[in-house]
Subunit: 292 residues, 2 copies
DNA sequence: CCTGTTCTGAAAAAAATTTTCCACATTGGC
DNA sequence: GCCAATGTGGAAAATTTTTTTCAGAACAGG
């Protein structure tokens, strides 16, 4: 029996791991268009999702409802409570929180940043940079600054899964000379430098350049001084109403780059991914995936 | 025939004078609880209003619908449009690259994720979580998984600037017992766990909980098992057309949380920020900012 | 008080929706 | 590569919903 306190949304999350592929298809559709996507008849709902009616029927039973009508009723009750509850206006995209809530202000700023960042990425440079990152004939070095260290770490984790010969320069610049020693012509250095730009990153870039290393730079909208010597550099809009900078757009660009790199290197990467999966399986560090 | 532009609400106003007493009873009930009161079956709707089914059927025909099902569909469409409405404007924000370019496909997916994530954040839980993170009377522990380690790192770097008593649990779970030793009732543990969920994180959360530690969880749309014991948990939409998951929305939620934390702790934080600035100045690790 | 009109809801008929059953397809293990 | 187990959708059966019909109630006006 469905507990009175739990919303359908919660029920879906609770039972998500029990759901089959087709059932998840509906679950996702519903969560993305909640609750409207579940309020039509089971026939229509199934048609919109692209699955059969029995699939929907089975799924709502898994959630604990006796049948689709009961599920329908539950959704409706939630909708009723929501509308009559606080104030109706959920006009803008956001939570039920008022316009002035930090969440909404934040959403606005971040969206703006993403949009500007995207419309300023030159696609040829992007493709070229992805090509460099996918070049397994040479070594790829990654380095970040004080804040961007975490981004470099993220890039390293993913790129290491995609290709061999990836090296993460630890944040302590004292060790950098050791890495420089191993850099060769044709290697690539992926750098992150957003304000306050760090002088030792500039020094590192200069020395790498002298060795014939290609430098790919991800920086903010004002451009780090490294941009002048980088092979490719990308600007990310980072300003938010706060004392520090947002790295959401930076991460998005990075992920897009990783994705492009992966696409380019796919034939090799696929095998690598599967091996990685098996290794994780063996070390039993991870449970079976909850997701698909 | 129902005009495509007019809402049911408008139709009711237009035809109100044609309606009989019983019909108005339903019209009022619907307007007061719009649109939920009209989205159940005609039988239920009639029952709730205290009139008979033929009355409802006659009325929706007066409004211009062919039958109740068509009326139902119109209401549903309005609801759907309302939710997805203002955000739909993804316009032509993108680079000069063609629609099919990876950059644009990526932008689309990420935007969708951000939007869905945002509209699923419960603002009370958000505020409550920020309150926990800002509580300097207790220690704040931060931990992430294999991929989310970078996010935990990012959170640590920022929160450490905001407040004292922040501890980052290194990714090696072998050392976690040491940290558990120091956890006390009222402390907070900020966790990141996206699929594939890691069983040692669940164990850690359980042990922390036993010690009376508040657990704030940031997870994906399918929810880590930790969610069941967490004090507050937040779902981030992470799916992109790729073999791995995007953490853009995760980072956004994290940054929003940090921002809220900072706002809450500001009187104390301000001084802390200024001291940090002076320290950086002294160690000369950083140049003067290039930005504003 | 009667009559004609309008309104209303019970009940039957019609039209759907939902559920059940079963065969086919797909997946994962050996 | 085969077999068992599981997942999926078509189609019929069961159920519910919607519509229609129609008889009686309410009301206004004479």
């Amino acid at each position: 029996m469905t507990q009175p306190s739990s919303t359908v949304r919660e029920l879906i999350r609770q039972h998500y791991s029990d759901l089959t592929q087709s059932e998840r298809k509906f679950a996702n559709a519903l969560l993305e268009n909640y609750p409207a996507a579940g309020l039509a008849s089971i026939t229509i709902v199934a048609g919109q999702t692209g699955v059969s009616t029995p699939t929907i029927a089975r799924m709502v039973q898994k959630l604990g409802f006796k049948g689709f009508p009961q599920f329908h009723k539950a959704l409706l009750k939630e909708l009723q409570a929501k509308v009559s509850g606080p104030t109706e206006r959920r006009a803008n995209w956001a939570t039920e929180a008022p316009e002035s809530h930090l969440l909404n202000r934040f959403a606005k700023a971040v969206t703006q940043n993403l949009q500007t960042t995207f419309s300023n990425v030159p696609s040829e440079a992007f493709d070229a940079a992805a090509h460099l990152l996918a070049d397994t004939d040479h070594t790829l070095f990654i380095v970040g600054g004080r804040i961007t260290h975490a981004l470099a770490d993220y890039a390293f984790t993913h790129l290491q899964a995609v290709r061999p010969r990836v090296i993460h320069l630890t944040s302590s610049s004292a060790t950098w000379p050791h890495y420089l020693l191993d850099m060769e012509k044709g290697d690539t250095l992926l750098m992150f430098d957003i304000r306050r730009y760090e002088s030792n990153l500039l020094r590192l870039a200069e020395l790498a350049r002298e060795r014939g290393v290609e430098v790919v730079l991800i920086t903010d909208q004002w451009s780090s001084p490294v941009a002048e010597i980088a092979t490719h550099s990308f600007n990310c809009w980072v300003e938010i109403p706060s004392a520090w900078d947002s790295n959401v757009s930076t991460l998005m660009l990075l992920e897009a780059l990783i994705s492009a790199t992966q696409e380019e290197a796919w034939p090799n990467t696929k095998d690598r991914y599967e091996r990685l999966d098996r290794l994780f399986e063996q070390t039993r560090l991870f449970r079976k995936p909850g997701g698909q």
